[in-house]
Amino acid sequence: MMSPLDPNVLFQLGPLAITQAIVTTWVIMLLLVGSAFFLTRQLTLLPSKRQAAIELIVTTLDTQINETTGASPAPYRSFIGTLFLFILVANWSSLIPGVEPPTAGLETDAALAILVFVSVIWFGVKGSGPLGYLKSFAAPNPVMIPLNILQSLTRVFSMFVRLFGNVMSGVFVVGIVASLAGLLVPIPLMALDVLTGLVQAYIFAVLAMVFITSTVEDGQRLNPKRQEK
């Protein structure tokens, strides 16, 4: 049995090793974009059931962002929503036999964590200015600057490790049980993976949201001249 920690390289493209996780990511991208394009083709003022369903998704996301952070959801909707949908679909892709979820690989989770790290800086600078963003490290007082800098790195690292560990362990356990007990035995574990995948996607998205908005709020509080628009 192949270790889930080893990437399954399908082919080499120059220095890029195209793994199964990357290909699965492309498939997920096509699936999400195609579905989104199909679902949003005919948006009308009087919504159909299909439109009502996708509007419910967006409204729920907006409500979650607003209730979690108190901020306006518009600037963060695309980033947080896409992170949630991608991680959810990636986690649930493990239910298809023979498909290795991209989030079970180090590279995908690390990339997601880096994107959260960069988005914290991006939204922090955009919301409270460069000085405000830098001042956010001095919250609640300058003594905390080293710890805040360290925290900004470790918190995204913990997100990366949490997502990777949960998804990888699920895939790993299902693989071991399937190899030992047969095809139908891992089904309860796979059902558990469905719940785990949903919870992990939700946690990753909510934590990213909290990190971004806390940085923006700290920067705006310490640099009142720059208010979030």
């Binding site: 920690l5 990437p7 991208m29 989104a36 695309s78 896409t82 590279e107 990339a111 880096i114 994107l115």
Partner: protein, 244 residues
């Protein structure tokens, strides 16, 4: 366990592209549709509130107009009542005037009728009196009466102007001497007296006319000298009629 940084970068790019694509084809269009519906709903609510406010104002105007209509109705009814009373009063006054006029006209007509009847009665009484008088005078037709009439005739001839007297006596057709009866007339005496009074030799012709009652008259083609009870009664009757 190693990390493939090239693979990590590629996945980061993949996720960024996915974020961008979904932002374009999913999140923004759906959020825009929701916002548009909210705007439409807000606009509809605003329009509905404005319409309700307008309707409330119009309802208030209608209520005011209704109150005004009630007052105007009362005023019109009062005016109509007053006009009806005035019209009734005028009509009654006109009817009373007409009735008075008709009454006066009837009185006048009755008075005229009465007067006419009185005149007729008087006329009839006069005629009756004339008939009675004529009958009574007819009984008095004697020779003495005839002689008196002859004397009066001679006196009347004497009052005729000479030119007319000459024309009368020279009339070729002659002069008719009208008497009421032959019983009491002496033609020769009359002829003699007339020739004397007229002068010359007039052609005399005696005619009897009982209507004279009594008396003696001369008649020619262009002349008549009345001298009889009949002429006297006619004169009296005319005088009585003129007096009536």
């Amino acid at each position: 366990m190693t990390i493939d940084f090239w693979g990590m970068g590629l996945q980061a790019i993949n996720v960024l592209i996915l974020i961008w694509l979904l932002s374009r084809v999913f999140w923004r269009p759906v959020a825009a549709a929701i916002a548009k519906r909210q705007e439409e709903a807000a606009s509809l609510i605003e329009t509905a509130e404005a319409t309700q406010t307008k309707m409330d104002d119009e309802l208030e105007d209608v209520m005011q107009d209704r109150a005004g209509i009630g007052a105007e109705r009362s005023e019109i009814l009062d005016t109509a009542r007053k006009e009806a009373a005035a019209t009734t009063k005028n009509t009654l006054a006109e009817a009373r005037d007409k009735a008075d006029a008709m009454l006066a006209s009837a009185k006048t007509t009755i008075e005229q009728g009465r007067e006419t009847a009185q005149k007729e009665n008087e006329t009839q009484a006069a005629e009756l009196a004339m008939k009675i008088a004529a009958r009574l005078l007819g009984r008095l037709n004697s020779a003495a009466t005839q002689s008196a009439f002859l004397s009066q005739l001679i006196e009347a001839i004497a009052d005729i102007p000479p030119a007319d007297l000459t024309a009368l006596s020279d009339d070729p057709k002659g002069i008719e001497v009208v008497t009421a009866s032959d019983m009491t007339v002496d033609h020769k005496e009359i002829e003699k007296a007339l020739q004397t009074a007229l002068g010359g030799k007039p052609k005399l012709k005696f005619i009897m006319d009982p209507d004279l009652i009594g008396g003696l008259e001369l008649r020619s083609a262009h002349f008549a000298l009345h001298n009889s009870w009949q002429a006297d009664l006619k004169q009296i009757q005319k005088a009585v009629r003129d007096a009536a």
